[in-house]
């Protein structure tokens, strides 16, 4: 079967802590693990196979999974087995870089949880219903314009129009 066209590029995204607990997760395909039980089970399996390996890419339960870790966090992007792995990596990199900026390089659990609204918004700006919305972390940050602990991430940004 062919790779999807635009739609359904990303099947799921999730962030786990170093015990494998879910901190954030979004599933975009109604046919891919629709129930909470299936999702948690999948996350557990993925975590078990990847948290020691630190290998960047894995293939599990018929899905390609790209992942990245930072201190005590694990970031996962899941696509179908036919998906272009580099496309999935671009999503993962965008996610990681954007969060890294939001959290001022403290990409670790406590900081993430203290800025959870920023994290939710970042994910929302990168993927919409399984479609890759944005791949450039700078663009994501401009759209989210999240203030970490009272400071704006992008100084003096109020209402500037995009120039392209």
């Amino acid at each position: 079967s062919l790779s999807p066209i635009l739609q359904s590029s990303v099947k799921a995204v999730f962030i786990l802590d170093n015990d494998g607990n879910r901190l954030l997760s979004k599933y975009y395909d109604p046919e891919f693990y629709p129930s909470m039980k299936e999702q948690k089970n999948f996350e557990k399996n993925v975590f078990n196979k990847t948290h020691k390996a630190d290998n960047e890419i894995a293939f599990l339960e018929g899905m390609t999974i790209v992942y990245k870790t930072s201190i005590d966090l694990f970031f996962y992007v899941v696509g179908s087995a036919q998906e272009n792995e580099l496309m999935l990596m671009s999503v993962l990199n965008c996610l990681f870089e954007s969060l890294s900026q939001i959290l001022k390089k403290n990409v670790e659990r406590r900081c993430l949880l203290d800025n959870m609204e920023g994290v939710f918004l970042v994910v929302d700006e990168i993927i919409d219903g399984g479609v890759i919305l944005e791949s450039d972390p700078q663009q994501v940050l401009q759209k989210v314009n999240y203030r970490v602990r009272g400071e704006s991430v992008i100084p003096n940004y109020q209402s500037c129009h995009f120039i392209y």
Partner: protein, 679 residues
């Protein structure tokens, strides 16, 4: 790279989660402050975050409480805090399915989508389209069309992607926006172009001509977006496949030209597309393969993985095309990513020479326990293909497979191995015995009924035709005794097949001695005579075993027509009870209670056979034998007292311990001491 945070942070509970002990009802209670004025953005933001976090963790919200919370949230539109507004949009999307009457936010969202704050417009569009149905969509149609061609990329992208999501539900409405989408497709923004082309494709995909035109147009004018390139490559492949166009079409040329794109993602997409095309010639494959070869040495694991995975596919149909990559693949065998290593090895197995098989198999066996079940199955499949290619290597393969069978693994994995072994057996008659032996070993400890029954069926089919069918009967027989019903049934059927082939195989699976005894006992039991049971099963040999051996040996040296006479064997030196224990230890140790009454029955029968005792009636009790002499004397005597209703019978068993003497005419003369009658 790992940043150390200061002690203060650690003490404040680096292990703690601020959301850990959230209680839904408490949070919803807190949400009441949404109704207060003035709105406190920080606090409200925090509560919304908690609500979304709870939803994300799988917390169930009932319709009433969800609706209440949703309505309360709408009050927050009064605040101009940007982050708060954004979180409201997110909440709308998250609660769209669990709250009632979500359309009340339509006017607020429409206002935002057409308002001055660019940072609101994109997200507002996306939230609005999430809650819109076809009727409502028509009401906002002109706003959508405007949004699609908006110069702000996030607005345009949001509108395009939302339109895409709505194609299924409201195709007829969205179809009318095709011109706007076409305009957006010329955008310089790489995401807008990607989204626009995607929408155009999905609006036109049933019209092959329109799709072809679109492709021709955009492949000629340079695209800006690598994502768009990937998408067009896929569309072109699909068209080529559907139209079965030859590979000298402009579509193929476009894909081939993408091999020279400066973006790796596009190059890989093109290589993958070419590889997956049916009927590719070696010449057409070559440029794709060389690009993949380069990727094998990329520092990016994802790219190495993608490359080797694709080369693996090529190797399935065109192994010769991949031979050029063998060196690069060899380097990947030691890749720290085990998935990559596995794929590299299995590819090499398809393309390598027969001489490399042993070496490669050794390398795989060193890490097969570390890889996931999915990859283990991949390895097994590669071995299966290899066996067909190099039938002479079946013993190496079989060995490897049997080791894998012994290791841990799930059902699919074990089944793949069993199927592989079976196919080797079927293809290679020489491997049959080894294969069957491995499978026999496996079913000794197999938890999967399906596999056990499959193997038993195979044993029934193939076993009887082997030179030594008896070998397999033991394994099958054990299954009859030990397993679950389904397996026992299969085992019995298999045994029947053996029996049907060969009459003598009844006890053939037993070792000689076991078989002989079994046959002997079967015959005795079939006679159904207690006296015989007594003589041959319960009471053991009363003769000396070494003496018996010697006499038998004499007999064989000096053949005679007379049958062998047991009486010519000297009697045992050890007491009979001990001898009995030697001969039938199992019976005594396991069923002591059962044996005692039987012994009495025997005594009863023996006594009944003597005419003088026939009038005594039933035997009440027989005592245990009592030794009357010491063991080392010339003859030993023991006495058994049989008690009848009104009589006592004393049985004296005399055993001669000397080989060269014969005792005859024995008499017993008991002396009775006067004992006062006390009963």
């Amino acid at each position: 790279m790992i940043k150390k945070f200061d002690k203060k942070d650690e003490e404040s509970g680096s292990g703690s989660n601020p959301f850990q002990h959230l209680e839904k009802s408490a949070v919803l209670q807190e949400a009441r402050i949404f109704n207060e004025t003035p709105i406190n953005p920080r606090r409200c933001l925090h509560i919304l975050t908690k609500i979304i976090y709870l939803l994300n963790q799988g917390e169930h919200f009932g319709t009433t409480e969800a609706t209440e919370a949703f309505f309360a949230m709408t009050r927050l539109f009064q605040s101009n805090d940007q982050t708060l507004r954004r979180m409201c949009y997110l909440t709308i999307k998250e609660m769209a399915n669990i709250s009632e009457d979500v359309i009340i936010v339509t006017s607020s969202l429409t206002k935002d989508m057409t308002g001055k704050e660019d940072v609101y417009r994109g997200p507002a569009i996306r939230a609005l389209c999430r809650i819109t149905d076809t009727t409502m969509l028509q009401a906002i149609e002109r706003y959508m069309k405007q949004a699609i061609v908006d110069k702000v990329p996030s607005v345009s992208s949001s509108a395009l992607v939302s339109s895409l999501h709505m194609v299924k539900m409201s195709y007829d409405v969205v179809k009318r926006w095709v011109n706007e989408a076409q305009e957006a497709a010329s955008s310089d923004n790489i995401m807008v172009q990607y989204h626009a082309l995607g929408l155009l494709y999905h609006l036109r995909k049933n019209d092959r001509l329109a799709v072809t035109k679109m492709l021709n147009k955009f492949t000629k004018s340079g695209l800006k977006s690598p994502f768009a390139y990937c998408m067009l490559i896929r569309i072109a492949s699909k068209l080529l496949d559907e139209t079965e166009a030859g590979h000298d079409s402009p579509l193929f040329d476009f894909i081939e030209s993408c091999l020279r794109n400066k973006n790796e993602m596009v190059v890989y997409e093109a290589a993958s597309a070419i590889v997956h095309m049916p009927n590719c010639t070696a010449r057409e494959l070559a440029p794709a393969v060389s690009v993949l070869q380069l990727f094998c040495s990329s520092p990016k694991a994802a790219l190495r993985y993608a490359a080797v995975r694709t080369l693996n596919k090529v190797a399935m149909k065109h192994p010769s095309a991949v031979t050029a990559c063998n060196l690069d693949l060899e380097n990947l065998i030691t890749d720290s990513n085990r998935s990559i290593a596995t794929l590299a090895i299995t590819t090499l197995l398809k393309t390598g020479s027969e001489s490399s098989v042993d070496r490669l198999m050794k390398q795989i066996s060193s890490f097969v326990s570390e890889i996931s079940d999915e990859f283990k199955v991949v390895v097994v499949q590669a071995i299966s293909a290899l066996c067909q290619k190099y039938p002479r290597k079946h013993s190496v393969m079989m060995n490897f497979l049997s080791n894998m069978l012994r290791d841990d693994g799930g059902f699919d994995y074990k089944r793949a191995i069993v199927d592989c072994i079976i196919s080797i057996i079927e293809e290679n008659p020489e491997s049959k015995e080894t294969g069957l032996a491995h499978l026999c070993e496996f079913i000794e400890d197999c938890e999967h009924t399906v596999l056990a029954t499959k193997i038993l069926h195979l044993l029934g089919k193939e076993g009887p035709r082997t030179p030594q069918p008896s070998k397999y009967i033991r394994f099958i027989f054990n299954r009859v005794v030990l397993e679950s019903e389904a397996v026992r049934a299969a085992a019995v059927s298999a045994l029947a097949k053996f029996g049907a082939q060969n009459d003598d195989l009844c006890f053939a699976f037993l070792d000689d001695e076991v078989r002989d005894r079994a046959t002997f006992y079967m015959n005795v039991l079939q006679q159904k005579q207690k006296a015989l049971n007594a003589a041959y099963i319960f009471n053991g040999l009363s003769v000396s075993i070494p003496g018996l051996e010697k006499s038998l040996h004499q007999y064989t040296l000096d053949p005679s027509e007379k049958p062998f006479d047991m009486k010519s064997v000297p009697l045992a030196t050890t007491p009979i009870t001990e001898q009995k224990t030697e001969i039938a230890p199992v019976a005594t140790s396991k069923l002591p209670e059962k044996l005692a009454p039987s012994r009495q029955d025997i005594y009863q029968e023996q006594l009944a056979a003597v005419p003088e005792f026939q009038g005594l009636g039933p035997l009440f009790k027989s005592s245990e034998p009592v030794q009357l002499t010491e063991a080392e004397t010339e003859y030993v005597v023991r006495c058994i007292k049989h008690t009848f209703a009104r009589h006592m019978v004393f049985q004296f068993d005399c055993t001669n311990t000397l080989n060269d003497q014969l005792l005859q005419k024995l008499t017993a003369s008991p002396t009775v001491s006067p004992v006062p009658a006390t009963l």
